[in-house]
């Protein structure tokens, strides 16, 4: 219980520290991007406007949360070692495991809050655009039949909100949590924050190819043994980040089947747990 309190204290402290570092400035860029986008695409049809608003907003949400997860997490350990705050914390009866878990909890809180704020902003802009288009449609069809008006309004509302967006956003959070946990693992043996960032970005790209490598390996294609060995290495050592890419389909209005959604969340949770476990093993033996 005391250990849990300690972990929570470290987590909350990490969160407030990150907030004081003004990491939320990226939200300003996000706001400018989506509000600017709405103004820029005004000449398009309303279906195109909504499609592009969703494309850019959810895409930006995915980029910002992934970058935030990597950049914020990579500097935890190197910075704490450099500032010597780590010695103060570990000199107290705080296990290294709790220290690491606290750091992870802190970044997860930050990611959750960031994604909530971005979602709120995105939904507000979408709602405002929808109101505008609905008012325009009502004005244009003022003299027409009630049935035509109802059909037109249904067309507008059908192009804006759909409940499928939320599982897509939840998967963005899980993917960023995975990246945070992975970066934490990398930073336990990295000699600097920059090294951890570069490694995490490289893994990010390789991770998106993991599914291709896995299929190549398991398909038993008749190629050089070293090609298959390389594919097997990629398939076994890197996370399958394509498994978390539902946003593109969700934007197109496709519903994520519940089973698929839950399994994706489970896979994400497993990755987070595994990378944290490995980080704890390496960090436990690290000389400070």
């Amino acid at each position: 219980m005391k250990s849990l309190q300690g972990t929570w204290a470290i987590g909350w402290n990490t969160f407030t520290e990150l907030v004081r570092m003004k990491v939320f400035y990226f939200l300003l860029i996000f706001a400018l991007l989506i509000i600017g986008n709405s103004a820029f695409v005004a000449k398009f049809s309303f279906q195109e406007q909504f499609q592009m608003l969703k494309d850019i907003s959810l895409g930006a949400m995915s980029v910002f949360s992934s970058l935030l997860a990597i950049l914020a997490t990579a500097n935890f350990l190197p910075k704490d070692i450099e500032d010597r705050t780590i010695y103060t914390i570990l000199a107290k009866p705080v296990p290294r495991f709790s220290y690491l878990l606290g750091k992870l909890v802190g970044i997860l809180l930050l990611l959750a809050l960031s994604i909530l704020l971005m979602t709120g902003l995105f939904l507000a802009v979408l709602w405002l655009r929808e109101r505008g288009v609905l008012a325009e449609t009502r004005a244009q069809l003022a003299g027409g039949s009630a049935e035509d008006l109802a059909l037109a309004l249904k067309e507008v509302t059908g192009s804006t909100f759909n409940a499928n967006l939320f599982p897509g956003i939840a998967i963005i959070f899980v993917k960023s949590a995975l990246l945070a946990s992975l970066t934490l693992f990398l930073s336990t043996f990295a000699s600097s924050g920059l090294f951890a960032i570069l490694m995490a970005i490289a893994i990010y790209f390789i991770g998106h190819l993991q599914a291709t490598a896995r299929e190549f390996w398991l398909a038993g294609v008749d190629v050089h043994w070293w090609s298959r060995l390389l594919a097997a290495g990629v398939a076994l050592l890197f996370p399958d980040l394509q498994a978390f890419n539902y946003v593109d389909d969700v934007i197109a209005g496709v519903a994520v089947p519940t089973g698929l959604f839950l399994q994706t969340l489970s896979l994400g949770g497993l990755y987070v747990a595994v990378y944290f476990f490995l980080a704890a093993i390496v960090f436990a033996g690290r000389e400070l």
């Binding site: 499609q51 494309d55 398991l218 593109d248 389909d249 496709v254 896979l267 400070l288």
Partner: protein
């Protein structure tokens, strides 16, 4: 306090009471322990990777079955969108890239660069194959705008070549809709648009009827899909009886379906099929 940092991992030793040899021995021991832990981490990572494989494979199969992640990230796409674009697509930013290219499409449209638009449509629909809007708009631009522009092209004096160009754009529109349907077999919209295109531009009434009929099978399809299917079947040799049955069924559904076109087509069919007076719609 005198501290010395290790060359390996930032180790700090109180070396006041240790000789150089002892420090070196400790460093070697720590280094070995560190390497052992990292090796263990890599082995465990591979082990967990192997344990996750069945779940990853099942997820990939289920995603494919649900028509997810259909984008083919191949060399062809790489050539079309450039290295940076491909990198973005590879990292899961396909949709923003498609949106930016769609803005480029609009600029190309304003400059009536039809060829460039056709190339951009190919790229956008490859990046976002599940977006109905992109397929629909792309087909409309090609079959309705580009085709008209080709027919009115004053730089081309030969009418035969203008007609040829017009037909090529019709075919491009049709091809886009057919590829869109292959990528989205679970949506009615593209079947409906294919029906409209086959009816208006190809005068292929049998094909249009089949497309409208397919669209009408979806529960969320608008009611006019069935009417359109009936009208087109009436013009399709050999399907007149089927058309009559369908239109009569719609007529009997009530006033909402009793539109002037439907009644006119029904009357024509009654005459053509020589339906007895007692069975004709006017008797109901």
């Amino acid at each position: 306090m005198n501290r010395k940092r290790s060359v390996f991992s930032g180790s700090v030793f109180r070396n006041g009471s240790l000789s150089g040899g002892a420090v070196s021995a400790l460093n070697t021991e720590n280094f070995s322990s560190m390497i052992a832990r990292r090796s263990l981490a890599v082995v465990l990572l591979a082990g967990f990777g192997a344990a996750f494989l069945p779940l990853q494979i099942r997820l990939a199969d289920e995603a494919k079955a649900a028509n997810f992640r259909k984008t083919a990230l191949n060399l062809d796409l790489r050539e079309r969108i450039g290295q940076m674009g491909f990198l973005a697509a590879l990292s899961g930013f396909r949709s923003p890239l498609a949106a930016f290219l769609w803005i480029e499409v609009h600029t190309a449209w304003e400059n009536t660069e039809w060829g460039r638009m056709a190339g951009l449509f190919d790229t956008v629909t490859t990046l976002q194959p599940r977006s109905i809007l992109y397929w629909d708009m792309a087909a409309w631009h090609m079959a309705y705008n580009a085709s008209v522009a080709a027919m009115q092209d004053q730089k081309q004096p030969s009418e035969a070549l203008r007609i040829r160009a017009q037909r090529q754009y019709f075919n491009l529109g049709r091809d886009l809709l057919e590829r869109g349907i292959r990528n989205n077999p679970d949506k009615y919209q593209l079947y409906l648009q294919l029906g409209v295109l086959l009816r208006d531009k190809f005068e292929d009434h049998c094909g249009a009827a089949a497309a409208f009929l397919r669209a009408s099978e979806f529960p969320d399809a608008p009611p006019y899909c069935r009417r359109f299917a009936g009208y087109e079947m009436a013009k399709c040799p050999g399907r007149e009886r089927e058309s009559y049955e369908l239109l009569k069924k719609l007529y009997l559904e009530g006033d909402r379906q009793r539109l002037p076109t439907l009644i006119n087509v029904l009357r024509e069919m009654e005459k053509k099929l020589d339906i007895p007076a007692t069975e004709r719609v006017e008797s109901h």
